[in-house]
């Protein structure tokens, strides 16, 4: 009965995502939240504002889905108590983490692929910009998965496990210039917006699709990637401190 790590992760992911696939309302809601602003921007401003917003929505869908890991972690630990069953078994903590992280990513992929198809249809680009946008989104997703794990592992309160990701989602999604251009903000506020990682992810993705009013300089691109990587590392350190396989 030798079990590989990836196999364990796959079936843990399936255990977590099957209920969502059978009753996908929650994922529809999550997708709607991030794509709703695109709809209104399209209604009121037409395609010019809607296309950059669609890039933002793709980036944010993955970020929301990453934060959503908080609920899986919380419920597996404190509600279903499956984490305790897995700890006292040959299941690896890495497989467990990977499984819970990837489950929501798989479940959300149809809406992201659809949005990407609409975007490429309207704004044709090569494969590299598409891959670069997906890489930026994946990095933001990873940092949000870590944040989600830190929240889910450190709270013992159902309401907090549900509400904190939503508040964080609002802070990273709707306040900073993800749907709208950074230049719309007053210069004095822009540094604050640049402190939020989703700003960098959205700026980079829009840059790769050629949807910024002025393209980013090489320095801006380098700084954006650097900021996202540093933020992801910081979140990884946070989760290593907060989430424990064996309770202290």
């Amino acid at each position: 009965m030798k079990s590989s790590l990836l196999r364990q992760a796959w079936y843990i992911g399936l255990l977590d995502s099957l209920p969502l696939l059978r009753d996908p309302m929650l994922l529809v809601v999550l997708s709607l939240i991030s794509f709703l602003p695109v709809f209104f921007l399209f209604l009121f401003s037409g395609g010019t504002a809607a296309m950059p917003a669609l890039v933002g929505a793709i980036v944010l869908t993955l970020a929301f889905i990453g934060l959503f890991a908080a609920q899986s972690v919380y419920f597996y630990k404190h509600w279903f108590r499956f984490q305790d069953m897995f700890v006292a078994s040959p299941v690896s903590p890495i497989a467990y983490t990977l499984g819970l992280s990837l489950s929501t990513l798989f479940s959300s992929s149809p809406s992201v692929i659809l949005a990407l198809a609409v975007l490429v249809w309207n704004q044709p680009v090569g494969l590299v910009p598409i891959l670069a946008t997906l890489a930026v989104s994946a990095l933001l997703w990873l940092s949000m998965v870590f944040a989600g794990f830190a929240i889910g592992a450190s709270t013992k309160n159902t309401r907090r496990a549900n509400s904190l990701p939503q508040i964080l989602g609002f802070v990273i999604g709707f306040l900073p210039p993800v749907y709208y251009p950074l230049s719309l903000l007053p210069p004095s506020v822009q540094p604050f917006a640049l402190a939020i990682p989703s700003t960098h992810a959205a700026q980079l993705a829009k840059h790769y699709f050629g949807l910024l009013p002025a393209p980013l300089t090489d320095g801006d691109v380098f700084f954006g990637w650097g900021y996202l990587i540093a933020f992801t590392v910081a979140m990884a350190l946070l989760v290593m401190r907060k989430a424990r396989w064996v309770d202290p």
Binding site: L15, D84, S89
Partner: protein
Amino acid sequence: MDVVEVDELGKTYPKGTQALKDVSFRITKGEIFCLLGRNGAGKTTLLRILATQLRPTAGAARVFGHDVLREPRAIRPRISVVPQEARPQMMLSAWDHIRLMCMIRGMAKEEALRRTKLVMEEFDLWEHKDKLTADLSGGLRQRVILAMALIADPEILFLDEPTIGLDPLGRRQVWAMVRRLTAKGVTVLLTTHYMDEAEKLADRLAIIEKGQLAFIGTVDEAKAMAGTGMRVIVESAKANGNDREVLEPKSNTEILEIVQRSLNDGRRVTFQPPTLEDAFI
């Protein structure tokens, strides 16, 4: 053969709460060992340490001769746990839960299917296999969790309050399952605060009080140690509840005297053996 060895085990939580202090005992293979105690006494803490889910802060605990802190990987493939108040996912069926648990524990697909069917039949879950657990009763849901724990054929099964919230029939089904397991040589460590459960199941029991071991031994030894003997209930032949005496004689001679006196008075005498609950209280 001792499969669990606990020596002067202690646990103080990071916020300073001392949950266990100087706990020592042994559990032998094939035994049903019950941990009894009030809520918050330290039963779950002790079980979680032995199941490698929680770090002890003092003393040592070994399962199959392996230290729970230093060699948990040698222990985990040979044990299973049913955590307190564990529950299945409502949108999954019993079949989904058990089959996926088989796959997660590393069984090949065919073996997982065979094992899932076998365990479901053992737990009388087969007729409910396609129902979502949202549509199952509390007792059936608990059986799903137990089945998930037992797919791996563990050598030691840790059950943390496994019958909490179950109706009398559901409790008896769990007890029967525990007995079937021990007949196959499985060792069971069970926490409970139901005295009748411990009385019916335990080969030996430990009573934990405020994190310390207050008693360890058999049920009969617990009753004897508490000094609670046979109760004699004397009441009028037409019992209406008003004329009822509950006596606790200290010797056989005293019992005979009570019986003789009661019969002379035309009163009815019944005997009530001591319960574990009497001893516990």
